[in-house]
């Protein structure tokens, strides 16, 4: 690499460092003056700064996509009982909407929960991380001896740092996934459990530890679906699995998806429920990427592109021909 190329990288890194500095809460007039001097020093500096600034500013638009998952100024739990009537209800609803993080009484056992439309990332000291999708409840017990996660409901994406001595175990109802070094996601939905593996290996089977318990080893691309009395595994291209994870980016990706299925997906993320009222409409397929919380974008497509009838009725939106 030429000296000039090194120099450009340095300038760009400085521009990013300035922007980062400026984004902190303790940015002062003095800092501002220093930044301005740096910008005035050369047009290369100036351009590097505004270029990185432009990208950072644009990324803010994703905030609209992302429902407020995380409390900005978390309401103090103890003041709730002091509030009465409507005010208390409003605050409670707001707090729910902001993704409650509850500490459960048992030591080292933690509960993480997201509301409808919520999303949360949890990282652990061992380097593993879990992303919770909408309407999900998950408990963890992470100690030096064991690593156990209970997926009580909903969906989560797991990225596990493998450790032979301490297997990472996820229990969902009667099923158990044991990580063997891995990225996978699990979804619990009305009695059914879906486990899809993106990378690595996992062992999937019944939760009880009897030696005769049925288990199977999943490879990347494998999607295991289990109900109370049956389990089957299909293979899907890892790339198409990525669409199932688009919620991590706050969007739903439909690819020739029947309207009925698309509506069902949307309903997981929103309190306002879509109802496809006639079978003719239900089987129409759609393509596209929608923010998970933007039901309106979906009804727009239904109304103006698919020429369907859209009717708002209380908390439901009826779609028909």
């Amino acid at each position: 690499m030429s000296a000039s190329a090194m120099h450009t990288k340095e300038i760009k890194a400085c521009a990013a460092a300035w922007l980062e500095r400026q984004d902190r809460s303790d940015w002062s007039a003095n800092d501002q003056a220093e930044l301005e001097a740096w910008l005035a020093a050369s047009n290369a500096n100036l351009i590097a700064y505004w270029r990185v600034h432009d990208a950072w500013k644009r990324a803010e638009r994703l905030v609209a996509v992302q429902p407020a998952v995380v409390p900005r100024a978390p309401p103090r739990r103890k003041i709730w009982p002091l509030l009465t009537g409507i005010a208390a209800t409003l605050i409670a609803v707001a707090a729910l909407g902001l993704g409650a993080r509850t500490l459960v009484s048992k030591p080292q056992e933690r509960t993480f929960a997201t509301p409808v439309g919520g999303r949360e990332i949890v990282s652990f000291a061992d380097g593993s991380r879990i992303e919770l999708n909408t309407n999900t409840v998950l408990r963890t017990r992470m100690t030096t001896e064991e690593r156990i996660v209970w997926l009580d409901k909903g969906e989560a994406y797991f990225q596990v740092k493998h450790d032979d001595a301490h297997p990472f175990i996820v229990i969902a109802g009667g099923d158990r996934v044991t990580d063997l070094g891995t990225k996978f996601f699990m979804r619990r939905d009305s009695g059914e459990l879906e486990v899809a593996l993106l990378e690595g290996r996992v062992r999937f089977g019944e939760a009880d530890a009897r030696p005769q318990a049925q288990t199977t080893l999943l490879a990347p691309g494998d999607v295991a679906t289990a109900s109370s009395n049956a389990m089957f595994v299909t293979q899907q291209p890892v790339k198409s699995l990525a669409n199932k994870l688009s919620w991590r980016r706050g969007v739903l990706v439909f690819d020739r998806t029947p309207l009925a299925d698309a509506a069902k997906e949307f309903n997981r993320y929103n309190r306002q429920k879509l109802v496809i009222a006639d079978p003719a409409a239900a089987s129409i397929t759609i393509d596209g990427t929608f923010p998970t919380n933007n039901v309106e974008a979906f009804t727009d497509v239904a109304q103006h592109i698919l020429r369907l009838h859209v009717e708002y009725r209380g908390n439901s939106i009826l779609i028909s021909r």
């Binding site: 000039s4 450009t8 521009a15 001097a37 990332i121 969007v251």
Partner: protein, 192 residues
């Protein structure tokens, strides 16, 4: 206080156009050309480790020209500047890369065709943004999401991820740098 960033080199360009105006024009008209400009530079320059630098140099030249006068047609102007830069680099290096600087016409200067319509752009912007965030290195991705999208403070991010605030700042800086590259070089407005 961006540590290690020295101040003080060349002066500022002559003021024919106000600097903020020129910069606004640059961000609006020139930056969206990044992908096609990179493609042009890659195609015409052997040493790929120079591309980032060449790109930045083109930007500086274009911006400085705009300070004197905003060019009437952005795209042809930007590519002519790029070509001239490559020629001057070739000369100063006393090497003649094969194919260097040949392809401007082939690239087209379908350069004057209007871009896709603005509505389409707006609709795709969201997907492009989330794709860019998705492609960040994982350690940066988390802090960028938490800071930019979830609006958590550095302290909160540090607590959640078990990092020091200093490390959060370092990851964030890295993420900002990478996000700018990913986002600008993925702009569909710059597709030929």
């Amino acid at each position: 206080m961006a540590e290690g960033c020295e101040t003080g080199r060349e002066g500022v360009g002559p003021a024919g156009m106000s600097a903020p105006e020129a910069m606004a024009w640059f961000l609006r008209e020139v930056l969206p050309l990044e992908a096609i400009l990179m493609q042009y530079l890659r195609h015409n320059w052997r040493d790929k480790s120079d591309i980032e630098d060449l790109l930045h140099d083109v930007y500086v030249r274009v911006y400085e020209a705009a300070l004197k006068q905003i060019p009437e047609k952005t795209k042809p102007f930007v590519f002519t500047t790029a070509r001239n830069l490559l020629i001057s680099r070739v000369r100063s290096q006393q090497i003649v890369p094969i194919e260097a600087v040949a392809d401007l016409d082939a690239l087209g200067m379908a350069i004057d065709t209007p871009g896709p319509d603005r509505n389409l752009i707006a609709r795709d912007e969201l997907r492009r943004l989330s794709d860019a965030i998705d492609r960040l290195p994982p350690h940066c991705r988390d802090v960028v999401i938490m800071r930019r999208i979830q609006d958590l403070s550095r302290g909160e991010i540090a607590a959640r991820l078990g990092l020091t605030e200093g490390t959060v700042s370092v990851y964030l800086t890295e993420g900002m740098y990478a996000l700018a590259d990913l986002l600008h070089s993925a702009d569909p407005r710059s597709k030929p």
